[in-house]
C-alpha cells in the first residue's frame, strides 16, 4: 500500500548522473560478490572485444586488388578477398551471362516474402500461395532452365548463397506440409498409419544428417532403376527434406497435443469432416501454439544446409572454403576473414528469424495476455 502511494506521489526522477549512479549501484555493485562479478565481466569483455574490433575494423585492409594489399606486418582482416570473390559467394560458378536469372529469383523471393512477414499487409492468402506454391516452381524453372530462351544450367554450376537458400527453402517448403501430415498420422486412430508415421519420424530423428547425406549420395542411386539418375543436388534435397519433415512433425505434434479434444469433437459434431475439422479448427490453433518451434526448426535447417559441403556441393561455406585455396589471395589471415564473413551472413539470417519469431509470438499472445 505504502509502496504504491510513494510511487504515485514521487515524480519520475529526471535523467541525470545521479540516477545513473543509482542504477550502477543497484545492478553492478550491490555487494562485494556482485562487484567482483562486474570486474570479472569487464576483464572478459576487455579480452574479447578490443582484439576483435582491431582485427575486423581498425587494422583491417579495406581496399586492394590482390593479396599484396593484405601482406602488411600487423594487417587485420583482408576484406578485399571478400569483395573480389563476392560473385562466387553469391551464386558459385553460375555462368555470368545467365546471372540475371539468379537476381530475378532473389528479387521475386524478397517481393513475396516481405509482405508475407508484415502482419498488416493485405491479401495474406494470395501472398502465401504465391510464396509456397508458385514461387518454388518459377524459381526452379528460371534457375535450371532447359527451355526455349533459357539455356539449361547444370546444378554443378550452382553454388554459394544460392545453394544455401535453395536447400533451406526446399527443406522449409516440403517439411511443413509433410510434417503436418506425419504429425496427424502419428495421432491417428488407425494403427497401421500410426505405426508407419512413428517409424518414419523416429528413424530420421535418430540418425545424424551427415549419414543421411551420405545415404543420399551413395545409397540412393542404387535404389533407382538403371538409366534413371538423380542430380547430386536433388538427391541431397530429398535427404534434407525428409530429415526436416521428421523434426517438423514432432513440433506440430506438440501443438496438436495442446489443443483439447473437445475442439475436434465439437467440430465433428457440427458436421465437419475429419480434414475440415483439422484444417479449419484444430490446426490453426495448434500451429499458432508452436510458431516458435517451427521457426527454430527453420533456423536449425538453415544452419544444417552447410553440411551439404561434405558431399561435395558448394554452399556458402563450401564456396568460402574453395575460394580460400585461390593462390591469388593466399594470405595468413585469409581463412579468418572468409569464416568471419560467412559467420556474419549466417548469423544475420538466423538471428533475424529468431527475432521475427519472438515478435510474432508476442503479437499472437496479445489476446491471451492480461
Amino acid at each position: 500500500m505504502t509502496d504504491m502511494a510513494s510511487q504515485i506521489q514521487k515524480p519520475r526522477e529526471p535523467l541525470s548522473i545521479g540516477r545513473g549512479i543509482t542504477w550502477l549501484r543497484k545492478n553492478l555493485f550491490s555487494s562485494w560478490f556482485n562487484t567482483a562479478l562486474t570486474l570479472l565481466s569487464l576483464y572478459v569483455i576487455w579480452l574479447v572485444v578490443p582484439p576483435l574490433i582491431d582485427f575486423a575494423i581498425i587494422d583491417a585492409v579495406w581496399t586492394g586488388a590482390s593479396r599484396e594489399a593484405c601482406l602488411g606486418p600487423d594487417a587485420g582482416a583482408c576484406w578485399p578477398f571478400v569483395w573480389a570473390n563476392i560473385d562466387q559467394f553469391l551464386y558459385g560458378r553460375y555462368p555470368s551471362s545467365e546471372v540475371w536469372r539468379v537476381y530475378v529469383v532473389f528479387a521475386l523471393g524478397a517481393i513475396g516474402l516481405v509482405p508475407a512477414l508484415i502482419p498488416a499487409a493485405p491479401a495474406k492468402r494470395f501472398n502465401l500461395i504465391f510464396l509456397l506454391v508458385a514461387y518454388p516452381v518459377i524459381a526452379v524453372t528460371l534457375l535450371a532452365g532447359g527451355r526455349p530462351g533459357l539455356p539449361a544450367v547444370d546444378t554443378s554450376y550452382w553454388g554459394g548463397l544460392l545453394v544455401t537458400l535453395v536447400v533451406a527453402v526446399t527443406g522449409i517448403v516440403i517439411s511443413l506440409p509433410l510434417g503436418i501430415v506425419l504429425a496427424l498420422g502419428r495421432r491417428s486412430s488407425m494403427p497401421a498409419i500410426r505405426l508407419v508415421s512413428i517409424v518414419f519420424i523416429e528413424f530420421w530423428r535418430g540418425v545424424p544428417l551427415v549419414t543421411v547425406l551420405f545415404m543420399a549420395s551413395v545409397m540412393l542411386p542404387l535404389f533407382l532403376p538403371e538409366g534413371v539418375s538423380l542430380d547430386n543436388l536433388l538427391r541431397c534435397l530429398v535427404g534434407v527434406a525428409l530429415f526436416a519433415s521428421a523434426y517438423m512433425a514432432e513440433v506440430v505434434r506438440g501443438g496438436l497435443q495442446a489443443i483439447p479434444r473437445g475442439q475436434y469433437e465439437a467440430a465433428r459434431a457440427g458436421g465437419l469432416s475429419y480434414w475440415q475439422a483439422m484444417g479449419l479448427v484444430v490446426l490453426p490453433q495448434a500451429l499458432r501454439h508452436v510458431i516458435p518451434g517451427i521457426v527454430n526448426t527453420f533456423i536449425g535447417l538453415f544452419k544444417d544446409t552447410t553440411l551439404v559441403l561434405i558431399v561435395g556441393i558448394f554452399d556458402l561455406l563450401g564456396q568460402v572454403r574453395s575460394q580460400l585455396s585461390d593462390p591469388n589471395w593466399s594470405v595468413p589471415q585469409g581463412a579468418i576473414t572468409g569464416y568471419l564473413f560467412a559467420a556474419l551472413v549466417f548469423w544475420v539470417f538466423c538471428f533475424g528469424m529468431a527475432r521475427y519469431s519472438a515478435y510474432m509470438e508476442r503479437r499472437l499472445n496479445a489476446g491471451s495476455r492480461r
Binding site: 486412430s189 497401421a192 498409419i193 545424424p208 552447410t306 560467412a342 559467420a343 549466417f346
Partner: protein, 395 residues
C-alpha cells in the same frame, strides 16, 4: 430398438460412408504402398548390385583394413580388420561425445544461471554468448577452431607452453599423463569406500528424518566424508599416481600424452555450441518455477538453501531434463561432423574410408545409421522411464 440399430448397421455394411470400412481401406492401401515401395527398392538394388559387381553381406568386416587411424584407444594397426576399424571409430565417437556431454552440461548450466544473474553485465555477456553461438552453424565453428586456431600453431620444436608441462603445437596438445603405481589400488579402494559411506549417511539421515522428524546435516557430512577421507589417504599414504612430464627430444615429445588437434577442435566446437542451447533450456526451466513456490517455502520456514534444493530444483529439473537429453543426443549426432575436419570418428572411419575401399555402401551406411539409431532409441526409452517417474501425479 436394438434390432433396428443392428439392421441399420448391417444396411450401412460395406459402404464408403461407414468409417470402419474407410479405415480398413486406407490402412490396407498404405500397407500395400509401403510393401510395394520396399519390394521395388530391394529388387532394383539387387539388380544394380549384380550389374555393378558389388559384393553383398558383412563378410568384408574380417578383411584387412590396410589404413592407419591417427587416434585409437584400442590396439589397432594397418593389418587389423575392417571390423576392428569400425570399433575404433565407434570408441572415438563415444569418447568425444562423452567428454563433450559433461563439459557442455557444466558450461550450459553456468551460462544459463549467468543469464538470470541480477548483475546486468553478467547477464548481458551470457546473452551475447548464447546469441552468437547458436546462430552460427556448428560446421563453421569447427572450421574456425581447426583451420584458423589449431592448425596455424607453431611446429613441435617451437611449441607454446602456457603452463609447465603443457605444450601446444600444430600436431596437437601434449599434456603430462598420470602413471599409476602400487598405491593406486589402495587409493581407489579408499575412494570407493568413502562414496559408499557418504551414500549410507544420506540414507540413514533420510530414514531418521521420516521416522522422527529430526534433521541431520546429511549433505555436508556426506561431502566431508567423500572429499576428506581420500584427502587424508593422499596425505598419509602418498600420491596415488605420479605425473609423467613430456619433454621435447629429437623429433617429437617423449612421455606425456598427446591430444590430436582434430579432437580438440571437435570437442571445443561441440561443447561451446551445445552449451548455448543448454543455457537457454536451464534458464527456461528455472523461470518456469513460479515465484509463489519460493515464497511458500519461505513462509513455511525453510531456509534459502533448502528451498532451492527441495522446492525449486526438483521442479525446474522436471522442465529441464527432457529437452536437455535431446540436446545431449544432438551433441552425439553432431559429433559426426568430425568427418569434415578428419577426426577419426565412426562416420569418418567407417562411412568414409571403409566405404571408399570396399564400395559396399548399403551395408556400411546401414550399420552406421544403426549405431546412431540405437543410441537415440535407448536414450529416449530411458527418458520415458524418467518422465513417468517425475511426471505430476494427477488424479
Amino acid at each position: 430398438m436394438a434390432g433396428a440399430a443392428a439392421r441399420d448397421k448391417r444396411k450401412i455394411g460395406l459402404k464408403w460412408s461407414n468409417p470402419a470400412v474407410r479405415s480398413v481401406v486406407y490402412q490396407a492401401a498404405l500397407i500395400a504402398l509401403v510393401l510395394y515401395g520396399g519390394w521395388f527398392i530391394v529388387t532394383t538394388t539387387q539388380a544394380n548390385l549384380a550389374r555393378l559387381n558389388i559384393a553383398t553381406g558383412f563378410g568384408f568386416m574380417d578383411n584387412t583394413a590396410g589404413f592407419g587411424i591417427v587416434q585409437s584407444l584400442i590396439p589397432y594397426t594397418e593389418e587389423s580388420s575392417y571390423g576392428r576399424a569400425f570399433l575404433v571409430g565407434l570408441i572415438n565417437t563415444l569418447m568425444v561425445a562423452g567428454i563433450g556431454i559433461v563439459l557442455a552440461t557444466i558450461l550450459g548450466f553456468f551460462v544459463g544461471v549467468a543469464r538470470l544473474s541480477t548483475n546486468w553485465l553478467v547477464s548481458k555477456i551470457a546473452w551475447a554468448y548464447v546469441e552468437v553461438m547458436r546462430n552460427i552453424p556448428l560446421l563453421l565453428q569447427l572450421f574456425f577452431w581447426y583451420f584458423t586456431v589449431l592448425r596455424p600453431l607453431p611446429a613441435p620444436v617451437d611449441s607454446l607452453s602456457p603452463v609447465e608441462g603443457v605444450y601446444l603445437n600444430n600436431r596437437g596438445v601434449v599434456v603430462p599423463s598420470p602413471v599409476f603405481g602400487e598405491s593406486s589400488a589402495f587409493f581407489g579402494i579408499v575412494v570407493l569406500l568413502s562414496l559408499v559411506a557418504g551414500y549410507a549417511v544420506l540414507r540413514w539421515a533420510r530414514k531418521r528424518q521420516s521416522a522422527t522428524g529430526e534433521i541431520f546435516p546429511a549433505w555436508r557430512t556426506a561431502i566431508a566424508i567423500v572429499l576428506g577421507v581420500p584427502a587424508l589417504a593422499w596425505l598419509f599414504g602418498g600420491a596415488p599416481f605420479t605425473l609423467d612430464f613430456p619433454a621435447y627430444r629429437g623429433f617429437g615429445f617423449d612421455g606425456g600424452m598427446r591430444l590430436i588437434p582434430e579432437f580438440i577442435a571437435l570437442l571445443l566446437g561441440l561443447t561451446l555450441y551445445t552449451a548455448a542451447f543448454i543455457a537457454e533450456i536451464v534458464r527456461a526451466g528455472i523461470l518456469s518455477v513460479s515465484h509463489g513456490q519460493t515464497e511458500a517455502a519461505y513462509a513455511l520456514g525453510l531456509p534459502a538453501g533448502r528451498t532451492l534444493r527441495l522446492v525449486v530444483i526438483p521442479q525446474a529439473l522436471r522442465v529441464i531434463v527432457p529437452p536437455l537429453t535431446s540436446q545431449l543426443l544432438n551433441l552425439t549426432k553432431n559429433s559426426s561432423l568430425a568427418v569434415a575436419i578428419a577426426y577419426p570418428d565412426l562416420v569418418a572411419v567407417f562411412a568414409g574410408t571403409v566405404l571408399n575401399q570396399t564400395g559396399q555402401a548399403i551395408e556400411v551406411i546401414a550399420l552406421t545409421m544403426a549405431v546412431y539409431l540405437t543410441i537415440s532409441l535407448v536414450t529416449s526409452f530411458l527418458m520415458n522411464l524418467y518422465n513417468a517417474r517425475v511426471a505430476i501425479q494427477e488424479r
